[in-house]
Amino acid sequence: MKRKLSNWALFLIFLLGFFVLAACSDSETGQGDDQSDKKEEPSAEDPITLSFFSADGTEKEFNDPVAQKITEETGIKLELDYPVGGNDEAIPLMIASGDYPDLIFAKGDIGKLIEAGGVIKLDDLIEEKGENLKAMYGDQINRLRNSIEDPSIYTVGTYGVENAYWETSGTFQIQLDVLRELGYPEIKTLEDFEAALTEYYEKYPEIDGQKTIPLSLLGSDWRWLITVGDPAGFAAGLAGDGQWAVDDETGEATYKFLLPELKEYFKWLNGLNAKGLLDPESFTQTYDTYISKLSSGRVLSVADQNWDFADADKALVADGKEWRTYAPLPVTLGEGYKSQSLKNYGFSGGWGIAISSTSEYQEEAFEFLDWMASEEAQILVNWGIEGENYDIVDGKRVMQEDDRERMNNDKDYSKETGVGYYIYPFPQWGNGAVDSTGQPITPNSEEQIIENFNTAEKEVLEEYEMENWIDCFPSTEELGISKHGQAFNYTIPAGSDLQIIQQKADDLTEQRITQAILGDPADFDKAWDDMIAELEAMNISKANEEMTKMVQDTMELWGTNE
């Protein structure tokens, strides 16, 4: 018996040895390649390759026409890196290994990089040679600063400077066909919304031979926050501060799920579920299933952001199902609440692209970022290449017809051509900005947006006697400019109580609220009270205090607190 086991052991060792050898030889060839690459880099006529990690990136080569043009102008090539499967550990692992790419877009994890000394201060560089950046940010440059204790600038970019609000980013949206079928009703409250869904659902229990789904959410992964958490806040008239409800005057921050208004919203969802109006798979389906359901045109409404289901929208238009696309609605809990969809948050700062402390090409990387902020670069990344993507007619830029078409219907357009691909998260002008000749710097001027509506959208707008969807929302002027930006953009210190409590609270609320929504309506109140008790047990008030302090510090840093 012993002998037989040792045969097995021998076999295993052999196998192991085989794998180890195979692995070794692999890594050796890998290293060899690296070395040869490095030798090529420094030569003058070849472009410098900068590695660029983007937390929002997708798999892509830097070789489309716009990218080639960028390389031509700057001598810089980017090597795009991205987190696989939306993992949160990319930045911590980067820090643990000390192996940084040249350029890093870390979103909320930038604080960890600053603390670890992984990124450099940009203040001096901006002062010395950041002409384009200075011109772009103007007096908003304070909003790039890190914190009261360390008011240096580490990042540039991400959000547009000088935004105009000609479109909403989404939230409650209903199929155009529902509006048409019901004779274009006014939908302003959750009650109206539900009534419209019920009526249409009773009339058409099936669409194209498949079961109609009145409302579908995607609550199985991080998008829970987008399709379940955020809409709750928007319905209660809160601005987009992530998991926080912030008083813009006093800077008082509250973990928003503690508020009674939010409970009301989830109670409504709970009711929808009990009445069979909520897709029972809302919290278990994968993103792909969700998009394919939406693309089939049988989902009557969503509570989602446009960017999250843009693929489905394009697929619907491509299939000729324009009437199955969605109209945004200013839905709130009731008359007393105002939809904040058109809120102007000012330039939010916070997130942005940083240059790593280990990069060999810090100067070059900065020059590249500065160039990206120039007028020339902004026109290139927004419009593409003259003669190929746009023409100049009567001194004005006009997108070519097929490019405009593809921009609206083809989800691969910007990936293939590069047009629009390099705007976010680089430094960018907003859609309200104009160039030196007075033309809008992005193709998304209001006229363009209106022109780009599909035929069904245009017809519905006409019925409502509106030019643009935003006409039925409370206007940007009415809502005022946010003094604190957006709380979800803040970099929360790593390992702080706020960070740990918020993570625990988020995990808890996602779970408990989901269970409460799917539960029996009779049990809802108890489930909610239990959750609040659990939140209090994990010392949520402490997180509220720390967040309030952060908001107030930000307002002081930005000089918006007077």
Partner: protein, 341 residues
Amino acid sequence: MSRENNSASAQSNLPETSSPVERQIRIGSGITKNNKKPYTKSFWKRASKQKALLLMSIPFVIWLLVFKYIPIAGWVMAFQDYKPQFGFFEQEWVGWKHFKDLFNEPMFYTALENTLGMGILGLVFGTVSAIVFALLLNELRFLTLKKWTQTISYLPHFVSWVIVANIVITMLSQEGIFNNILVGLGIIDQPINYMAKPEMFWGIVTLSDVWKETGWNAIIYLAAMAGVDPQLYEAAKVDGASRIRQMWHITLPSIRAVIIVLLILNIGNLINIGFEKQMLLGNNIVMEKALVIDLYALDYGIGMFRYSFGTAIGIFKSVISVILILICNSVAKRIGEGRVF
């Protein structure tokens, strides 16, 4: 495998083993009772005799040291408030703080319970299904069919969990094939949303694990069964034993040592069940049943930049593993069976 070996393995199934082969091994490795004073000369003599073997093992010893022992030095991190930007000596020492945090955290106990729960279920069902499957395959006399079945059955092992999880979720969804069949046959009235039932989560994980790994795990048992001496079966047949009797009295006892060694190794890994299954199959509704220690360490350790906290969890896991292995091994020793060390 030689005939002598086969008979040895058959004999060793008796509680007190003293086969000639085994005695020989003991003498060879110098642990027999009458060889108590080891002196250098014979050591070097033996070493030089076995130098080819020793040379062959060197790369693996080095591998073991580099990848398994040197990293243990990183454990000191658990007693510091580790910040990667500082050097080793600049770190702040915090003693048992991270362990205290860990043991005061209710979430950790949920994670521990889930880990052990799914670990034990996986171990029991995984082992039983693999052995039963191997037994059935072993009885197949039609060779082509046997080979085909074996190949097909272990193919799922090579499919990544990402894909398996998607298949499982799709099949178990409200409009999935599983509900369609059950509703069609009139067994249930309404489709059941399996993925939204926390009480079903452990079962779903275990079943998908069994589906994926049974074929693969059966290979080692099949190989052990192939080594059983055919004479034993012939003798049993002469005595009038049915095929079921033969399985029970010959096949199973012959592979008992393999089963026990694998069990000991797997029990040591009970707490290291990974997190892919739970992460990919789980969702917000079932999270309280899906949160496992590795997932917890990822989200609340590395994911939040708390390297020290993550390391503390790692140490805790290692300690549990070692304890489990020691217990199992001594139990195996006591009942006189094959053991790991």
